[in-house]
């Protein structure tokens, strides 16, 4: 009907003007005729362009998971009309952009004729108008090879051009997904775009993962959709495994936290219902507001994604998606895996036998979570939550906060803790033994140190606890004191914790009494510990407390670490040291180049002023040079056990 109506309007106006007949001025005749022709020509061109774009969008839609699913999900499309403020604050958040369709608006990466290389394969990137294309070895080839009906005689995958359909992430990095020929399966593109660095990097090298392990072919429809989309339904086809995935909406949207909104929308379309709600004659029961739930239920809303969970009914999940809805008990459908309470989780014993590395890939040995994005695991193991009713929304707000960490107003400082622990308001220095206003008197720094790894950095743990040397000895997890006082030993920490808080003094080895804990973790520690220490060597409060003139040799050493993310973090911290701001280094370069970089960094450090270097516990001789022998000896004891942290 669009064209007939257009012609009708045009003809009507034309007839009107013509009706004036010969009385029109000549100039008017000409300009009207020209405008009429131009109007029709422009409409035809516009229509052709719209048709082309509609066809391209329809073609892409066939290859990507589709939005829209049964079960009462209506998407955020419906929410703005009544909740414009909430919609706007959500729209600014990184939750919204957890998964997006590829477009010039969503993609921040450089696709302008870029060529990338990885393990002998070349990947070419192109932008064609509003579309983003990659040339790569056919990702379907391996799967098709296993099927006698589709297997080809080729011995290596043919190269194909693919139009990108999806991307995940928007805060730190963007990961891209390549559509399969079969269903709407999405294979990961093996390079990511690092937003802060504005560069491409191999995906494999952005995880803390043993370089000897083979790269994983991630499939969005299996794992990522669980927490990067709202109301996901994987829907693999029985037998073939081809996906016909649906979601309520891409990204984490309104209904992820408030529940499916179809009934809520239907009820509130009636203006009388809304008036009754305003007058208090009715209460809204068709939608969930997490801030009005109990601390446990409210936090479970966040925990459905920010926790390591177990899906009790896997076949039902694959078919219909999660049965958990905000307001329900998460433990009934997808309980959180808590290694500290394995005896209460008998359903986990079998799977843990099948995947013996599962716990080590996610937790410290005492069950505290060590990978990012799983804050709920830390919270539920905290006394503040168990006994004090602390909920995620006590400190965080989804709608009145900075998108960066979504901390509610005033929650970036001690007020967050003083809400409940008011007795320390006027006794902060007495309690912390650090000057008021210093980073040492900030509750977070002692009780929520950065002992979680993820996204190529250290992140605050959400297990709220007091620092102890004993926990460091038992689990290897650095304690808050030594993460700030990098130049001090465990013995030093134990002495003060005993003196100030009456903590029992632990048994320590000679090494632990004589050498700074950070030095031990940086040289002898496992890859996870090395990554955390490398990050803290660039952390301003730690550099302020420990001095930064002695850190370069340790960071230089870590530039040659076997784990790529340790190298990346070390370089970032090194550049924060005086004299190293422009230090050139490529964390995915060949081993010889990395060794060259180490030597360059050491030479640069050797040429610097030596008077500010402290010699106590940090393997620095009185003359300001590095004590090579103990340094090399500790390095030779490095914990090289294979690690693969599943962030």
């Amino acid at each position: 009907m669009e064209w007939p109506l257009f012609i009708l309007f045009l003809a009507g106006a034309f007839a009107l003007v013509v009706a004036v007949g010969k009385r029109r001025p000549r100039w008017a005749k000409r300009s009207l005729a020209l405008t009429l022709l131009a109007t029709i020509a422009a409409a035809l061109a516009w229509n052709a362009d719209t048709t082309r774009r509609t066809r391209a969008a329809a073609e892409l839609a066939k290859s990507v998971p589709r939005e829209g699913r049964p079960g009462g999900y209506v998407s955020s499309d419906k929410c703005q009309a009544c909740h414009p403020g909430e919609y706007a604050s959500w729209h600014r958040s990184f939750h919204r952009t957890m998964t997006q369709y590829a477009s010039p608006v969503s993609i921040k990466a450089n696709f302008d004729g870029v060529t990338l290389e990885l393990r002998g394969e070349t990947y070419r990137l192109q932008r064609r108008g509003d579309e983003f294309w990659v040339e790569l070895p056919d990702p379907d080839w391996g799967r098709e090879l296993k099927n006698p009906l589709t297997a080809s005689a080729a011995t290596k995958p043919p190269r194909v051009w693919k139009r990108l359909g999806l991307l995940t992430g928007s805060h730190h990095m963007q990961v891209f997904w390549v559509p399969s020929r079969h269903g709407n399966t999405q294979y990961v593109f093996p390079f990511v775009w690092l937003l802060a660095d504005r560069r491409w990097a191999p995906l494999h090298d952005t995880f803390l993962r043993d370089p000897k392990l083979p790269p994983t072919l991630h499939v969005w429809n299996v794992n990522c959709l669980r927490c990067h989309s709202t109301g996901p339904q994987p829907r693999p086809e029985a037998g073939t495994g081809v996906f016909d995935t649906r979601t309520g909406e891409m990204g984490i949207a309104c209904e992820a936290c408030h529940g499916p909104a179809e009934e809520h929308v239907r009820l509130n379309q009636n203006p009388l219902h809304r008036v009754a709600l305003r007058l208090g004659a009715k209460t809204e029961s068709a939608i969930v507001n997490p801030s009005r739930l109990s601390a446990a239920r409210s936090s479970q809303v966040c925990g459905q994604c920010h926790g390591i969970k177990w899906i009790l009914n896997q076949p039902a999940f694959l078919r219909e998606g999660f049965s958990f809805r905000p307001g329900l008990d998460l433990d009934q459908s997808t309980p959180i895996i808590r290694p500290s309470r394995l005896e209460q989780q008998p359903w986990l014993h079998g799977p843990l036998k099948a995947q013996p590395n599962f716990l080590a890939e996610h937790y410290w040995s005492d069950g505290e979570v060590r990978v990012s994005g799983r804050e709920f695991n830390g919270l539920v193991d905290s006394a503040c939550h168990e006994k004090g009713g602390l909920a995620c929304v006590t400190c965080h707000s989804m709608h009145q906060s900075d998108p960066d960490d979504q901390l509610a107003r005033d929650m970036g400082g001690n007020f967050a803790c003083l809400q409940c622990h008011a007795q320390y308001r006027d006794r902060l220095t007495e309690h912390s033994h650090h000057a008021a206003g210093s980073t040492g008197s900030l509750c977070y720094n002692c009780h929520m140190p950065h002992t979680v790894y993820g996204l190529m950095k250290a992140i605050r743990t959400h297990k709220i606890a007091s620092p102890t040397v004993q926990s460091s000895l038992q689990t290897g997890r650095p304690n808050a004191c030594n993460l700030c006082h990098l130049d001090q030993t465990l013995a030093w920490t134990a002495t003060y914790l005993h003196e100030w808080y009456r903590q029992p003094a632990p048994q320590l080895t000679d090494q632990q009494q004589s050498t700074a804990a950070s030095v031990l973790w940086a040289l002898k520690g496992d890859a996870g510990q090395r990554a955390l220490i490398a990050w803290h060597m660039g952390w301003e409060p730690a550099k302020h407390a420990s001095g930064d003139a002695w850190l370069a040799p340790y960071l230089a050493q870590l530039l040659t670490d076997p784990y790529s993310t340790v190298r990346y973090i070390s370089h970032r911290s090194l550049r924060r040291l005086p004299g190293f701001t422009e230090f050139p280094y490529e964390f995915v370069a060949a081993g010889a180049d990395r060794e060259q970089a180490r030597l360059r960094a050491l030479n640069l450090w050797a040429a610097q002023e030596k008077t500010e270097r402290r010699s106590n516990h940090i393997l620095i001789a009185p003359d300001g040079t590095l004590l090579r022998e103990p340094f090399e000896r500790l390095l030779s004891e490095r914990d090289d056990h294979s690690m693969d942290l599943q962030e």
Partner: protein, 180 residues
């Protein structure tokens, strides 16, 4: 049609308008008729749009339909304004009895056509939307805008070219009194 009336025959600006001539009256009546009915139509459209808000109709309020919402709001606003322009034109004509009829009739037609094309274009452009873009109806707008421009230009020129009688000088007044 009489096209030989001299502009000097027009009344001074502050005097009461003379009784309009039949041809001017016919155009004024047509314009007023069209203007008032258009106003009714576009005010009714506004009422309908408010009802769409009241009942939270997704086809109008959903984020994916924001282009439609913008287009229809513009159709309502432009239609109402243009209806008032037509009424103003109808009322204006009595001040321009000597306006060349050829230009007057053309200006009248231009304004009527613009009142159909501009809000019509917005409405049609919003009725069929393609992602964030309006439908082809939006191309009625340039034509409507041109006609509106011509209509307003002709009317403005009609006023500019209207010659007013020069004010009598004191000498002339004295002479005329003397004569009496």
């Amino acid at each position: 049609m009489n096209t030989s009336i001299k502009p000097t025959a027009e009344p001074p600006p502050n005097s009461k308008p003379p009784k309009p001539r039949p041809d001017v009256e016919a155009v004024a009546r047509k314009q007023l008729h069209f203007g008032w009915w258009s106003l009714l139509v576009f005010l009714t459209l506004g009422f309908i749009l408010e009802a769409l808000h009241a009942f939270k109709v997704g086809a109008y309020l959903d984020v994916s339909n924001s282009t439609r919402r913008l287009m229809w709001t513009l159709a309502h606003a432009h239609g109402t304004l243009l209806a008032l322009v037509n009424i103003a034109f109808g009322l204006t004509l009595q001040w321009l009895p000597a306006w060349e009829p050829r230009l007057r009739d053309f200006a009248s037609t231009c304004l009527i056509a613009a009142t159909l094309l501009i809000p019509g274009g917005f409405f049609l452009g919003g009725a069929y939307i393609h992602a964030g873009d309006p439908g082809i109806g939006i191309f009625l707008l340039p034509l409507g805008a041109l006609l509106l421009f011509i209509g307003v230009l002709l009317t403005a020129r009609g006023f500019a070219e209207r010659k007013l009688p020069s004010a009598p000088s004191p000498t002339a007044d004295a002479k005329s009194l003397k004569g009496k």
